[in-house]
């Protein structure tokens, strides 16, 4: 089962390598990884998705929490949460599957190629890729999952 872990870490050089290194060091698998500064410039928020049973994910969150640069960790998949991913796809103009997209999906086009953007859950994007396979997209770029809890809980140091 896919799990989504979100964490806040000090926005410092080396912090990201500690998080990523932990995964290889302890033999955990990272499926997707997204990291960006937050509105508080001293903090970065990192979201990762991983496969693993409950016990493995519990170990992962505990080990992440032990890293000195990690301020807060949460396993979003423990309760209801929203997961979204952005995907960009490039088609040759002559094989663009018009029926699969709306105009608002198109982010650039010229005489040769059309780029579209799609936002959805990872599994929706997986399904879309299968659906458009016949149109031979020439490039597919995925951002990796972002996550946010559905309830009033927030991942914040002000709580």
């Amino acid at each position: 089962m896919k799990r989504v872990i979100a964490l806040l870490m000090e926005n410092q050089p080396g912090a990201l390598s500690r998080v990523v290194g932990l995964f290889s060091q302890r033999g955990y698998n990272i499926e997707t990884l997204v990291v960006a500064p937050t509105t508080d410039p001293t903090l970065s928020r990192l979201t990762m998705s991983t496969e693993g049973d409950e016990k493995v994910v519990e170990q992962i969150t505990k080990q992440l929490d032990k890293l000195i640069d990690v301020v807060l960790v949460t396993n979003l998949s423990e309760s209801e949460f929203v997961e979204r991913e952005l995907m960009l796809i490039k088609f040759r103009k002559d094989s663009f599957p018009e029926n699969a997209f709306q105009d608002s999906n198109v982010v650039s086009k010229n005489d040769e190629v059309i780029n579209v953007q799609v936002v959805g859950t990872s599994s929706e994007l997986d399904a879309l890729i299968t659906e458009i396979k016949g149109s031979n997209p020439i490039e597919v770029v995925r951002s990796g999952s972002l996550g946010i809890s559905s309830d009033k809980n927030t991942l914040s140091i002000e709580n």
């Binding site: 080396g14 390598s17 016990k55 170990q59 505990k62 032990k66 000195i68 640069d69 140091i157």
Partner: protein
């Protein structure tokens, strides 16, 4: 004891009292403010500004080792013996890489050390410059934390943080990597040392959850076959007194891990000995048959549990540990208690003492009788000296017993890795915490001698013996020179079986006796001549009849390092030994004798 002055080193007290300091001066002064007495190190280009600052003060003594691995092990030994953080200083590049084994050793055994590495100048980082290596990168998986200094002014705060992180929670090594330009004597700044440090991302737990403590006591009251299993965490956290109080109050049998020896008195009848891979028969049997295991500052590692799926299936587990990630990592904890051993044990004792405690006393008494029966059947023989020579040879265990006798069981014992380490752990009854110093987690050959230097410097009047083998001692043998320079009268007890004994034991047991690369084909040095060439005393023992007199002489030479080289029976194996992939009751008790059919 310490011959710093003898060798013409005169210290000047200048610069250090002024408030404006260079990065190098700030670094040394910060160490002084952290209470550092000794640091172990080896100079080199990137660290020379720091070495100049060391020369210009006399607060912190620098011990020049012969290899950076020795520096880190010495700092580690100092930390383990004193409970205070140990400090090592190395240069960039090879100095830093040589420190890696020492860092990994400290990391696996959770010892508080701070390793300061020189780094190339900031503007050269990333250019493959001379003696450049990415110390933060290569040390990352084996440190609790690390700092790359980016401004000289940050040095005091970083030192403060480093010591705070190294010594609190589950202790561990911290690296401070300092680019050379940030220690430049020409650049000075106003020195401020922070009084305290608050880190939003680091708040190690101390007190255990009160409701869990109550649940633990409820469970204790139901126990009929309990075992207290304690590890290095009790020693690190100075919780030995509380552990003893708990065991005495409950009359529960106690076993210690290799790292936990000394937390409970080794000569106490309630003590079952070490458990695990080479644990005693009674300790392993008790663990396997228990209905309650109280784990304190121990982490159920693979050398304890054998196959975790078959581990003590009938026992409930109370697990007290300061590291939340250690709880339920290998073995599910029925009652997890996250907090420091000392705080949690105190809370447990308070709860026990506040109740009208109803223990299953008759069951526990039966259980203790059962353990005595196991001990009588297959326990270790602690009177091997009385047996005299075996097949004309000295048993390695007899050497440890002789050492125990001559030192009244009061010496600090450091060790390397292999059969000698297990014999020392099994046969020297450690009655006090911090008396037994060995590389349990990483299993680092070469740890024994340099760690003994750290212990001897901290306790100049105490007997410090390094129980080693002819394999391990050669891995850091160069430190014999350091021992001469600083007059460290370590007793090296070399159990010489002319083979890599533990490797050979495994080859005997699992590889049909094919001794692949575990012997030296008559290439061993004359250890007596070697010790003498370093200015020390060497004593050779080949006959059992000479053993005790030689040991007496060795221990009585208070001011000299003595290398006692004892030829021991090369065919001896360490037993008991857990049979891999099974439960803890599957033990080899001898070459032909085992506990299962």
């Amino acid at each position: 004891m310490l011959n710093l002055q003898k060798f013409g080193v005169t210290f000047k007290r200048n610069l250090m009292d002024k408030s404006n300091k260079s990065g190098a001066e700030a670094l040394i002064h910060s160490l002084h403010l952290e209470g550092v007495e000794f640091m172990f190190g080896y100079p080199g280009g990137a660290a020379l500004h720091i070495y100049d600052a060391i020369f210009n003060q006399n607060y912190v003594d620098h011990i020049l080792v012969r290899h950076e691995q020795g520096a880190v092990h010495a700092a580690d030994g100092y930390a383990r013996a004193t409970g205070k953080p140990g400090v090592a200083l190395v240069t960039s590049g090879p100095g830093a890489t040589n420190a890696i084994t020492g860092l990994a050793t400290a990391y696996m055994d959770s010892t508080p050390i701070v390793v300061i590495s020189g780094q190339v100048k900031s503007n050269l980082i990333g250019t493959d410059s001379f003696q450049e290596t990415d110390m933060i990168g290569i040390s990352r998986p084996i440190v609790k934390h690390s700092f790359l200094v980016q401004r000289a002014e940050d040095i005091p705060e970083i030192v403060k943080k480093a010591f705070h992180i190294a010594t609190t929670g589950r202790p561990g090594p911290v690296v401070i990597d300092v680019p050379k330009d940030l220690t430049d004597p020409e650049y000075k700044f106003e020195f401020h040392y922070p009084k305290e440090i608050n880190m939003r991302s680091y708040n190690p737990p101390t007190e255990g959850d009160t409701s869990r403590i109550k649940e633990a006591v409820d469970l204790i009251e139901t126990a009929k076959r309990p075992v207290i299993y304690s590890g290095g965490g009790v020693i690190q956290n100075d919780a030995s007194d509380e552990l003893i109080e708990l065991a005495k109050l409950l009359n529960f049998p106690v076993t210690n891990t290799l790292m936990g020896l000394g937390a409970f008195p080794g000569s106490d009848p309630q003590f079952m000995g070490m458990l695990g891979m080479h644990g005693t028969y009674q300790a392993n049997m008790a663990m396997h048959n228990a209905d309650l295991i109280i784990a304190i500052g121990a982490r159920f590692d693979d050398r304890i549990t054998n196959d975790p799926k078959q581990f003590s299936l009938g026992a409930k587990k109370i697990h007290i540990d300061v590291d939340p990630a250690s709880v339920s990592k290998i073995i599910h904890a029925d009652i997890p208690i996250v907090g420091s051993a000392k705080e949690c044990l105190s809370a447990l004792l308070l709860e026990l003492n506040s109740r009208n405690l109803k223990l299953n006393e008759s069951d526990i008494s039966e259980w203790n009788k059962q353990i005595s029966t196991w001990r009588d059947a297959h326990g270790l023989n602690h009177s091997l000296l009385e047996l005299g020579p075996q097949n004309g040879k000295i048993l390695p265990q007899q050497v440890v017993q002789s050492l125990y006798k001559e030192t009244n069981g009061e010496a600090f014992i450091t060790s390397d890795v292999g059969q000698h380490q297990m014999f020392a752990a099994q046969y020297y009854h450690f009655d006090k915490p911090r008396q037994w110093i060995n590389s349990g987690g990483l299993g680092t050959m070469g740890f024994g001698l340099p760690s003994a230097m750290g212990v001897q410097l901290a306790f100049p009047e105490s007997t410090v013996a390094c129980v080693t083998g002819e394999g391990s001692i050669q891995m850091c043998i160069q430190e014999l020179s350091t021992c001469l320079q600083y007059g460290l009268p370590i007793k090296i007890i070399n159990l010489n079986n002319a083979a890599l004994g533990m490797v050979r034991q495994w080859q005997d047991m699992q590889y049909g006796g094919r001794h692949s690369s575990s012997t030296y084909e008559n290439s061993l040095p004359d250890f007596i001549a070697l010790a003498e060439s370093y200015g020390h005393v060497g004593i050779k023992v080949t006959k059992f009849e000479d053993l005790e007199a030689a040991m007496k002489e060795c221990v009585s030479l208070k001011d000299r390092l003595v290398f006692l080289d004892v030829d021991v029976d090369p065919n001896e194996h360490v037993y008991p030994m857990l049979e891999a992939g099974n439960a803890m009751d599957h033990m080899w008790l001898g070459k032909e004798e085992k506990t299962w059919k």
